[in-house]
Symmetry: none
Subunit: 224 residues, 2 copies
DNA sequence: GATCGATGTGACGCGATTGTGACGGGATTG
DNA sequence: CAATCCCGTCACAATCGCGTCACATCGATC
């Protein structure tokens, strides 16, 4: 079942309980300055209050964008009143959307569902093309020069995360978080095993080794 | 001469008279909660009013889909006004299309003709050619490399649904809904049995295994 | 080239997921 | 109305995935 992460900067995000609706699982999470408390793999929808006690909504939005784990989140800015000037500023700060609050739980859900159906129309088949490597997100199938790569679920997630952050050193911690494995805590050395297994699977499909080890730091997906 | 069934939930469907236009024979039929009153073999086009006195349009749509005789009908939802929210819900409930009413008889005909010509361009539902596999919708016959595959009705529906959604992970839930088995509720594990039986039938005809298991998610019909 | 921390990797085992034979009730057929 | 077929469910077997460990290997530094 799909999991949809919903982040809120107000008390609506307090309950960490899951919420199932229409065959999808939603998790509500309180969004603080340090980012979300938990992050399950899946689409992310953030609702940021324009006026916050400790941190301006603008700044919160920037932090979300800066963190590779949440950079893809869809950000909706929640305005207290419909001020055109605020709207403009919110969108310029990187928000994808705005809404005039205050929100209720069901209002949030409805909005996410509406936006989601629009989003799925737009990018029904997401597809990465990275040199010889292609990743078909709809079929959950990766190929090297057209040759299918047989990947286990975790390997696929790993490859996907690398593909989303090419040419950038990812620490073992980045990888663990990027794959949503903060809980239960995982030994960092396990990442080495993930890498080894992914490399082997790619090689088994006749591929090269796009994963470079950066000693005492992490790994990079080399592109071009 | 082809016969085209047109179902309507309002008084436009009252007359059971045939109507000939452009070398095609159309039958108009009043669609009630029990389904159409008569059904001639041929393409089916249903126009369901979003607002109905006794039964919501949504529910009517589901019933159409649930009945194997009408599951293939093209469903157009007739909205009273252009509310994006209603549009979204209509499409998610299984409608193929929507239109803002009220409709006249000729408007319905025009629409059907327009949709029909588009459909025949796609020639979607007549015949699939997917690698070694061919599916003849008219003869309800599938073949692997020309060799007939003996399929039970449910297996055929399943294969058809896969063929309509190749290279795309389908969850067990997708498959249950795609085969119109929302009612009565079906155990998701039953899908595993469907898959097993379909695989066996294909293999019995000398075919390969085009169905890939995606662990903890669902199944994909792999193509290319 | 010796040393030592960092990385690569085969093996293991548990828990989760999937495959499948068997059964029975209901529909269908002749 | 008997024989057959179809299909949903169940229970058990088979398989798979993955985190961990232990040991092999590597490579920077002196």
């Amino acid at each position: 079942m799909d999991v949809v992460n919903i982040f809120l900067t107000n008390e609506l995000g307090e309950s960490l309980e899951d919420f199932v609706h229409d065959h999808r699982r939603f998790t509500f999470d309180r969004l603080g300055p340090e980012g979300p408390r938990r992050l399950v793999e899946g689409p992310m929808w953030a609702f940021i209050d324009w006026v916050l006690p400790d941190l301006a909504g603008l700044e919160m939005c920037r932090r979300l964008r800066a963190d590779p784990r949440t950079a893809d989140a869809h950000v909706t800015m929640v305005l207290e009143e419909d001020d055109p000037e605020d709207r403009r500023r919110a969108l310029r700060a990187g928000a994808d959307d705005y809404v005039v609050g205050p929100l209720t739980r069901t209002a949030v859900l409805d909005r996410v569902l509406a936006l989601q159906s629009r989003a799925s129309e737009r990018s029904a088949t997401r597809r990465f093309e990275l040199g010889a490597l292609t990743i078909d997100m709809a079929a959950l199938q990766a190929r090297w020069d057209g040759e299918p790569i047989v990947l286990r679920p975790n390997e696929f997630r790993l490859l996907r995360f690398f593909a989303e952050n090419p040419n950038r050193v990812l620490t073992r911690d980045d990888l663990i978080n990027g794959l949503g494995k903060r809980e239960p805590p995982i030994d960092e050395r396990t990442v080495d095993v993930w890498i080894g297994r992914l490399r082997r699977s790619i090689k088994a499909a006749g591929g090269g080794n796009p994963l470079r080890t950066v000693r005492s730091l992490g790994y990079v997906f080399d592109l071009g």
